[in-house]
């Protein structure tokens, strides 16, 4: 198995209703999407990224922040 095949073969199947499949198939006609799978992957990535964004908190403490502000003042950025 080539290096490319090692990674590329890692796909799995997810079931969606046939009605939805057909709806997407119609929707992507004339767009850059070449398959329903490609479209679904695109949309899922977009949605998942938005969910992940919402869960983030900055890792630095108030003490870190004070130290950083001091440095930024010293360098003339603040």
């Amino acid at each position: 198995m080539s290096e490319k095949e090692k990674t590329r073969s890692r796909y799995t199947t997810v079931s969606i209703p046939v009605t939805l499949y057909n709806r997407i198939k119609e929707l992507i006609k004339g767009t850059g999407f070449t398959s329903v799978s490609q479209y679904v992957t695109y949309v899922l990535r977009e949605i998942i990224a938005a969910h992940e964004e919402a869960r983030y908190t900055e890792p630095f403490s108030e003490e870190d922040k004070k130290r950083i502000i001091e440095k930024l003042k010293k360098l003339g950025y603040l």
Binding site: E3, E58, F60
Partner: protein
């Protein structure tokens, strides 16, 4: 539009700087460990990893991630990543080192990090070139550099134990610092600008166009290895200082450097550059025409098109058309907003500007601000030899 300072790529800002007792212990341990001497470009990337510039990477890629990046432009956890960050070694450098061991990474003989070797693996340099640079032509500087690399790759997390001094220490900010800085300034939308050039009027035009609808501009020149004929790093900084002083409002611009090598990987590098600026806290990123390109290896808008493949990038690319001076409009414009013909347009050519500066001449004002040209001409030789 994103409503606040961008989240780090992959969801968290990586910090791999050892501190306190752990730092002392690792510095002691490093004295006894097998050592791998790093060239400057890789050494600074160690520091980039440790300070979160390359978040979510915690070290050099292991094979599974490497192959996914090469073929899918994503890490094995599906997070977009387009340029493999790898550490190449010769077999004789790692005699006796096996997976699971720690090694000391040194620069100029001094340990700067401790790395846990998770994996040692072979790689196909031509395949790397084909996938990353879309060519194996050795006239491409990135390809030539890749083919000179060593035979094996080692992957694994690093812990930074020392800082590599910079000639530009004053301009060296890390993502946690820019994130605090942008918040303190009250900026919610920040546009990042990648550059390896001294600014001409076209650069100023795209920056100001983007700044019109964002709170702040983060000018982030790349300092490090560049090809012959490019502007020297100190020249780029002096030129930007002059431009900001004379032509930008107070408090809308932050100028800080990024120490990493140019890869000249065109579209893939455009994504890479956007990810790095997202980690600095940017919400938007200006993508130039033929961004990170070299010669005629990439189409002029390939670096724009590639963004369509990444709906989950988490930073908004801004595609601003190339600017020119229109005699009829009486100012800097672009093809979308100027109705006049070619005969009225004065194009801004980076090559022509460099040629004039090489001869010690000031380019015309429609191409480059006089204060910027003067700052450049103060250097005996402003170009990389």
């Amino acid at each position: 539009m994103v409503a606040m300072v961008s989240k780090p790529h992959g969801g968290r800002l990586v910090r791999r700087r050892a501190t306190g007792k752990r730092l002392e212990a690792l510095r002691e341990e490093a004295k006894e460990l097998p050592k791998i001497e790093l060239p400057y470009d890789i050494a600074v990337d160690v520091e980039n990893i440790a300070n979160g510039v390359f978040s979510p990477l915690e070290g050099f890629l292991v094979q599974e991630d490497y192959l996914h990046v090469l073929y899918d432009m994503r890490l094995s956890n599906d997070v977009p990543w387009t340029i493999p960050i790898v550490l190449d070694v010769d077999p004789d450098e790692i005699v006796g080192v096996k997976e699971g061991d720690d090694v000391a990474l040194t620069y100029n003989g001094k340990p700067i990090a401790v790395m846990r070797v998770e994996e040692i693996y072979g790689w196909d340099k031509k395949e790397y070139a084909k996938m990353v640079y879309k060519t194996t032509d050795t006239r491409h500087p990135g390809v030539a550099k890749t083919l000179e690399k060593k035979e094996l790759l080692i992957g694994g997390p690093i812990d930074l134990i020392d800082h590599i001094e910079s000639r530009f220490e004053k301009y060296l900010l890390w993502p946690e610092e820019t994130r605090v800085l942008f918040r303190e300034k009250g900026w919610k939308t920040i546009v990042g600008f990648q550059t390896r050039n001294a600014p001409h009027r076209g650069h100023e035009y795209v920056q100001k166009a983007a700044l019109t609808f964002t709170d702040g501009l983060f000018i982030n020149p790349l300092v490090g290895w560049k090809k012959k004929g490019d502007f020297k790093d100190e020249v780029i900084l002096a030129a930007y200082e002059a431009l900001i002083k004379h032509y930008y409002p107070k408090d809308v611009v932050v100028l800080a450097v990024l120490r990493t090598a140019m890869r000249y990987a065109g579209p893939r590098e455009a994504i890479h550059h956007a990810i790095l600026r997202k980690n600095f806290g940017c919400t938007h990123f200006i993508v130039g025409r033929d961004h990170a390109g070299v010669g005629n290896f990439y189409g002029p808008y390939e670096a724009w098109d590639i963004f369509d493949e990444f709906p989950d990038l988490g930073i908004t690319p801004l595609f601003i058309r190339e600017a020119f001076y229109c005699k009829k409009c009486g100012g800097m414009v672009n093809a979308k907003i100027c109705p006049h013909g070619e005969e009225h347009r004065l194009k801004i050519s980076g090559t022509k500007i460099r040629e004039m500066l090489k001869k010690g001449e000031k380019p015309p004002e429609y191409m480059m601000r006089p204060e910027v040209a003067e700052a450049i001409l103060r250097f005996d030789n402003p170009f990389v030899e």
